[in-house]
Chain length 151, copies 2
């Protein structure tokens, strides 16, 4: 089993990780200042999350003179992929398509992002089934889903 996906990161911890990932490692002072400005967190609050993330193995910390520097131990893209997969595993497979459509409609994407996505989709189309069954019930819900099919 991969150890990376074992690490659960809460919402607040995500916000903490984001600044460290973005700065590619940072001192507590920097992190505290940024989160105070961005989200209004008290220094103590940020320190708590920092401590928890170190304990969880998501961050490493090294003392550099008086400063403590935090480095990510997990990659942002990997963590993001785990988080999204984790969420989508709890959603009705049958409705993932429409959900993605809405999602894509709501996020910002660059030209190259879009190009990449379309590529991926064209690839996927080659072997995609005519229909995806929902997996909300133990046996599948073919009949039930069909009924809701008209929208």
């Amino acid at each position: 089993m991969n150890t990376t996906d074992e690490i659960e990161i809460s919402q607040s911890e995500w916000e903490t990780m984001r600044v460290i990932w973005t700065l590619n490692g940072a001192s507590s002072k920097q992190i505290i200042a940024i989160l105070a400005e961005k989200l209004g967190w008290k220094a103590s609050t940020t320190k708590t999350y920092l401590g928890r993330l170190v304990k969880k193995g998501a961050l490493s910390t090294t003392k550099n003179g008086r400063e403590y520097v935090y480095q990510p131990l997990i990659e942002e893209q990997v963590a993001m992929n785990n988080a999204t997969s984790g969420l989508f595993d709890h959603l009705c497979q049958h409705k993932v398509g429409p959900t993605l459509t809405t999602l894509i409609n709501n996020v910002e994407l660059s030209q190259s992002d879009i190009e990449e996505l379309i590529n991926e989709l064209n690839q996927k189309a080659k072997t995609a089934p005519e229909m995806v069954k929902c997996n909300c019930l133990p046996d599948g819900c073919d009949e039930n889903c069909e009924m809701e099919e008209m929208k």
Copy 2:
């Protein structure tokens, strides 16, 4: 004005909602049986979630003779959209594209889902920027990313 997005649904509660959504309303007996089979939950456990969901306003319950029937008070698609937005709001905007690519690679999509998505993407391409800035830091990270000085 929409009350729907106020409701927070935990992972376990999601699993509970899924069966009710899929069955388009169900009796506690059914729900308990299904979740016992699918996830090995004890009857008490399912009852707890049912109770919490009713209190949260995600479900309504009506006594029908000896049976209690639970009906969803929020739409599955709406809830799914809220959940995904909620997650993506905590992710680096700059990396949303690659994350979506991986996600799409990992989920099952039907031919029509794919068609729909490609449509949406083509639409989006018309006004998409060349590049998406990350919003992990208060000011955006274009400059900050390289900024390791200052103390």
